[in-house]
Each structure stands twice: as C-alpha cells, then as structure tokens.
C-alpha cells in the first residue's frame, strides 16, 4: 500500500497537574491516495487531537513523539512551524461539525468564498483578477452542488441552514485543491437527508479528484459505504483497523464488537450515554488504566491485559487485543 499519510506509533502527552497523560498512545494510521478512511471513536478518545497533530495545530506544551509522521515525502516532525504551515496549508484542509461557526457572521458568503481562493492562482491585472475570482467562486459552489449561486453568495452565514453552511465550508476547503480533507464529524446535528447529501458530496469529491478523506465519527452508524477503510480508537489507543467490510462483518476486537452491537441495537442512542454492552464509563484523563485501556470495561479481560497488546495482523485487518474474538484458521 502506498500511503500518502503514514503514521507509526504516534504518541501525544499532555502535562497535567498529576503528571503527564498520554492522550494518544502509539497510534498507527495509513492513508492511501484517494482513499476514504473512517476513524471511529467516542468523544475524548483523542481522535480530534490526532487531526490537530496531522494539521500541525500543535500546542507547544504537548509532547509529540512518533516513529513516523510522514505526509507524502515530507517528514512532518522534522519541518519547522513555518515550513509545516506551508505544506499543510497547500495540501490539507479540514471541515468541522457546527460549520456555521467557522464562517465570519459579519461577512457575506460570497466575500468569504472569494477570499479563500489562493491569490497565487489568479493572473492578470486587478480587474481581471476580480472577475476571475468571482467565476472561480461560482464554480466552487457548483462543485458542492449549489445551483443558485447568486442568491447564496449574497447571504450572511446566519441565513444558511447547517447543511448549506457545511457545503460552503467544503467549497472553501477545496478551494486550493487539497490532497487530504479531514472531516471532523461533519454531519452531527443534521437531518438524515442532509447528512446523506454531505456524505455523497464528499464521496464524489474523493472519487472525482483523488482527494483522500479522513472521516472522523462518533459511532459505526455514520460509516458510509464509500469508506474503504476504518479504524477504531478508544482512549487514545488504536483498537482495530482494516477494510471496512471485513472489520464490520467479522470483528476481531471486543471494542469493535461492542460498538457494532450498539449501532445495531439502538440507532438513536444519545451521545455520551453508557454503552449497552460495555459496563462502566470512559475513564477520565487522570485515571487511564495501564496496559489495554479497554481493560476495566472489557468482558474478555484477563491478567495479560495489563500489558498493552501489540498490533496483530490477520490478512488486511490489524487489531490490538490479547484475546481476539476469533482466530483466522488459515493464518493461525
């Protein structure tokens, strides 16, 4: 697999009053060009932190270590802040939940859209550049499926629905043709039909121009069929990763299994409630269990679980568990 984003054993430590806490613990992620990869984790699992680490929104107090944090042929950890800003600014973009808060409430949509078009790509004198900008902005709106461009451009962000605001965020994000788009729970609090629209749009953009997408979601119900691969993260540790089909059909990891049965049994469960099949609650930062962090809640936990399990590879799937739910007969 030729990964354009290659993360090996990435750890992030935060300094707290009770000493350092590892919020991301030896995390692995490989992303191929044009691939949609879904990262599933509950709130506080460190998934947003991972996105920040990739994009370089780094607090200087964090301690970041990794065997590899490569983007294409750049070793991101070896670049200084300015170089990193150039690389990520050129190649990456991010969209978020609550998209309207990422738009200036006092500025018309059109103006913000025009502003996001990189000046370097325009040519000619002032007036020509202005016209150019306008046509490019219109084209961006067309690409995200907005037909009535004149109307939308004249609106203020508070006059947009969340779905429309997210489409505009996407339009702004793809203005400089990024190679990686990180979508952090892009459809939270949206109606199912809008949700579907946004997902279809993202899938189309990915297929159409080979843009890789790292989709971050809360649970397995939001995993779209176009997502080729999927990773599950719990308390900063990678639980299981592999092709979406295989992981969902036949999970090796108890956590995947629990998430799956949750998404099947109760589709509309409110966020942050207790998992129906895992007892206990997500541990707080100060009380991270040693070894496998799922340990205290895992029905299969045994003594060996106080040591962190290494990643085991079974065909395409990798998982971190001492006692997987099944063993692959051909390989074991």
């Amino acid at each position: 697999m030729s990964a354009i984003l290659d993360i090996r054993n990435l750890s992030i430590e935060l300094e707290t009053e009770n000493g350092p806490v590892r919020v991301l613990d030896r995390f692995n992620l490989q992303l191929a060009e044009g691939e949609i990869h879904t990262l599933v984790g509950e709130s506080g699992s460190g998934k947003s932190l991972l996105a920040k680490a990739i994009l370089g929104f780094i607090n200087p107090r964090w301690k970041i270590t990794a065997d590899r944090l490569w983007w294409r042929h750049y070793d991101l950890l070896a670049l200084n802040a300015a170089q990193r800003r150039i690389v990520t600014g050129r190649d990456m973009a991010m969209i978020f939940q609550d998209p309207s808060s990422y738009l200036d409430p006092n500025d018309k949509v059109g103006a913000q859209l025009r502003e996001s078009i990189p000046t370097g790509e325009l040519s000619g004198v002032y007036l020509k550049r202005r016209v150019d900008r306008q046509t490019r902005a219109e084209r961006l709106l067309h690409r995200v499926g907005i037909k009535d461009t004149a109307d939308v451009m004249e609106r203020y962000p508070h006059e947009l629905s969340e779905g429309l605001a997210q489409k505009i965020s996407i339009a702004m994000a793809i203005a400089h043709n990024p190679k990686l788009l990180i979508a952090d729970e892009p459809t939270t609090a949206m109606e199912p039909s809008t949700r579907g629209q946004i997902y279809r749009l993202l899938a189309k953009l990915s297929a159409g121009q080979g843009m890789s997408i790292l989709m971050i979601t809360q649970d397995l119900t939001a995993v779209i069929p176009e997502s080729q691969r999927i990773s599950l993260i719990y308390c900063g540790q990678l639980m299981e990763t592999g092709p979406t089909e295989e992981v969902m059909q036949k999970p090796y990891h108890p956590y995947t299994d629990a998430m799956l049965s949750m998404s099947l049994s109760d589709q509309d469960i409110a966020p942050k409630t207790r998992l129906p099949t895992l007892s206990g609650a997500i541990p707080t930062l100060q009380h991270m269990p040693i070894g496998c962090r799922l340990g205290p809640r895992c029905p299969y936990a045994r003594r060996a679980c106080i040591h962190q399990p290494a990643l085991t590879k079974q065909q395409q799937v990798q998982f971190a568990c001492h006692y997987p739910l099944h063993k692959d007969s051909e390989h074991d």
């Binding site: 600014g89 609550d98 006092n106 500025d107 203020y156 006059e159």
Partner: protein, 343 residues
Amino acid sequence: MIRYTLRRLILLFVTLWLLTLFLFALNYFFPGDALTNMTGVRANDALAYQRLVSERSFDSSLFSQYLAFLGHFISGDWGQSLSTQRDVFTDLLPLLGATLELSVLAMALAMAIGAPLGLYAAGQQRGSMDRVVMGLSLSAYSIPVFWLAQLFILFFAVKLGWTPISGQVNPLFDIDVQSGSILLDILLSNSPYKGAALADAINHLWLPVIVLAIMPATMLIRITRNSMLEVLQQNYIRSARARGLSETRILLRHALPNAMQPVVRQLGLMFSILMSNIIVTEVIFNWPGVGSWLVKSIYERDYPVMQGGLFAIAALILLVNVAVELFHAWRYPQVRKELYAER
C-alpha cells in the same frame, strides 16, 4: 429590518407618550397650583390666568386637561419660566445645542482614545502593558466625575492657568447665540475676530470635554479589549488562519468588525451615563446647557423649566438609544435573528 425598525419606533413613541403622562402628573404633585406649575402664569395675573383656565380645559375633567396639555406640548407651547417669564421651548433649543456639542465631542474623544487602547491591550494580552492599561482604566472608571472636574479645574485652570475656569467663550467676543453650539455659532457669526474667538472657545472646551470623556473611554477600553479577545478565539478566525490568510487581513476584515459589535451595542448605555455626568459637569463649568439649566430650575422651583429640561434630556437619551439600536441591527444583520428569530 423594516419590521425591526417599526418595532423600535413604536416603542420610542410609546415611551415618549408615557413620559408626557408623567410630566402631566408632576404638575399636580408639585406644591402650588397645577395650572401655574404647567404654564408658569401665576393666579395674580388674573386676566391671563383666566384665559388659560379655558384654554387648558381646567374647567373640565382631568382627561380633557391632559388632552389640552398634550396638544400644547406637541405644538411647542411648554409654558414660561416662573422666574424669568421667558418661553421655555425657545430657551431650550440653544441650551440643547450647547449640551449636544459637549456630549458629541466627549463621545468622539472617548472613542478615539478608548477603542485603540482597548485593541492595544488585547494585542498585549496579559503582558505588562495590558495590565497597565486595564489598571489605569479601572481606576479612572472609579473616580466620580464631580470630584475629577473640580480637581482638573484646580490643577489646569487655577494652578497652571492654562484655561479659563468656566463658561463657553469670553463674552467680549459678543457671539450671537444661534444653534447653542459655540463652535458652530462662531462660524455662523459675522464677528471680525472669528479665529481668535474659535481659539478662545476651544480653550474653554477642552477641559470639560476631557472630564466627560474619561468615563466612557474607560468603558470602551474594557469592552473593546474583551470583545477582541473573545473574537480572536472564534472558530472563523482560526479557520481563516488555517486557510493561510494574512494576519492583517484577518484582523482588519474579520476580527475588527466583529469585535466592534458589542462596542456599538453599548454606545447607547455609554451615552446615558454620559448624560448624567454632563449635568454635573455643566454646573461645575458653568456651561450654558440643559443640565445646568435643569439644576438651576430645581433650586428655584421653576416647575415649567424643570419639566422642559427633564423631557429634553430623557428624550435625547431615548432617541440616541433607539438610533444606536437601529444602526446596530442594520450593520450587524445576524443580531436581528437573535432578536426575533426572523429569517
């Protein structure tokens, strides 16, 4: 926006109407004869008094008395002063001009000082200059204006002798009162010494203007700083940075307009505070404005003048507040949604 404007205007008129009710009632609560309190004509001037009794419906019910009062009030017949026998309404206009001049200049000065200092403090957040600016503004905010005014007079006028102690302009210049605003009047006059008069007027002006500007300026510093800091935390600023916009563009185009929004919203409140300070300041500086006029009328129990002064100041505060609110809603369309959830 039209709906919002209408609502504001209706509210304005209702408040003004309630104010007339209050003024009308005052005439009966003040000691003495209600008709005299209202018109400034004493009962011993029998001829005029008798005419007023019928004109003001004092031979009829309380309700028709109010209607008559309202009619006269709207047509600008606010009675005459008990002490000078001069018409209240004609006296009021130039006084209002003088007060407006003082308040507009003070407000402008406060903005010119307060907003940039607030932005500067925000830029130096938690640095030593931030602490200095915020400390100074808090101490200046806590100084009562009557004390500050006297301190300034003592220091700048008496001790240093830089400026006259009181008044608008040296009476030797013999400037006709037209608008009441001294600077305007000098420009409108045909005095041969315009330049000298202007310099003298400014020499009289700057001290009261500074005294008045200090309170709103300190408020502006704090509001501007805090709102700027809050805006800089917002997602749209961070995402603008992530998209690689230049820092100048982010500040001028996105941060500043948003940061000024709460500042604009507070301008009405600041003006109200300024007006209460202006009354005291006018008395201390012997400034011929509505404030000192009102205070003098209270000493002299000159009820018609008192009513006129009260109404003028209250109406001015109301008008400015409504104007600020309308401007705010017009400039910041997203607040209209917050107000009425309209689309």
